[in-house]
Assembly symmetry: C2
Homo-oligomer: 174 residues x 2
Amino acid sequence: MPVSGAETSFDAGNETLALDRKDLAILAELTTNARASHTELANKVGLSSTALARRQKALEDEGYIQAYQAALDLAQFGLTTTVLVRIALESQSDEALKAFEAEVVKCPSVVRCFLMSGTDDYILIVLARDIQDFERIHRTELSRLPRVARVQSSFALREIVNRAVPTVVFGEKR
Amino acid sequence: MPVSGAETSFDAGNETLALDRKDLAILAELTTNARASHTELANKVGLSSTALARRQKALEDEGYIQAYQAALDLAQFGLTTTVLVRIALESQSDEALKAFEAEVVKCPSVVRCFLMSGTDDYILIVLARDIQDFERIHRTELSRLPRVARVQSSFALREIVNRAVPTVVFGEKR
DNA sequence: TCAAGATGCGCGTTGGAGTCCCGAAGGAGA
DNA sequence: TCTCCTTCGGGACTCCAACGCGCATCTTGA
């Protein structure tokens, strides 16, 4: 169900995606101001508030918008240190993977965890207050993970890019 | 400036942080429902809407809440492939770093970029539609970055954890 | 005991959200 | 070419709830 006059469309998975530039403008704006009112958004996008409300609701119903969430300034909580952790398991058996994954989701300092191809290990992104704090995390969270053969940590000195959404999303249609 | 009766406090950088469990409950809830109304939040946290509004505004003014943003379902846009890219430069001179960083921020498919310690290289997180699409990104975005000596890519087979905020944040105070 | 700050209640105002209806634009089909 | 039909946009209206203010009360800490 196209949200508006389908211009061109491309295949996304098994569904046909058809968003025009106004839909993308709505999404781009909501990515910045999730609490914007209908009228406010309507002015920025160039629609009436009625038309905008319809489109926004459609975007929500069709799942393009998953949620509205507040972005916290983690530095204000002292979490200024990002660590990339590479973890190799003793075995790549299904049971070992499951056991590891069941525990890693409980680690409170882990924000991302990927199972990687090739070397068949995991990459974690961990947030810590500082290096000493990471030592504690390593001791109390990471070293207690099951089936781990090797843990290798590297610290991020600086973050150059941090986007929630790749800019390519907002430029696909015109 | 404490938001409420300071219970205990800990040092965050150079600022003193004093959030009680109600502040943390507000933040936790807003992390999920950024569009929740004052009354709605007040009920969940156990405050009157007036008190809640004051605390929320304080949290915004003091920078704990950076923004309210819509979370898009990137899979709906076909971006189902996450790639970790490790890039080493020809030189670690300041000029080389600056030149590289000035270009990497322009890459539309890059969502994260860290300068890493130890090996002195960069780690990028790239979102692609599929492997073929990553080949295109590699060709049109990554290989055009300046001063690059080596590019090494590994694909994420699965994402086990994806949190915006480490759960540790909401459990620090009581 | 006193002062400062935080809470909660009640109020009035405002602004947003939702509904209904109509008009315009574009396609399909005879 | 004409007409029907679908779809989207926009205006007007109503209703409800959110927001913000002021004041009295309570708690906390010095």
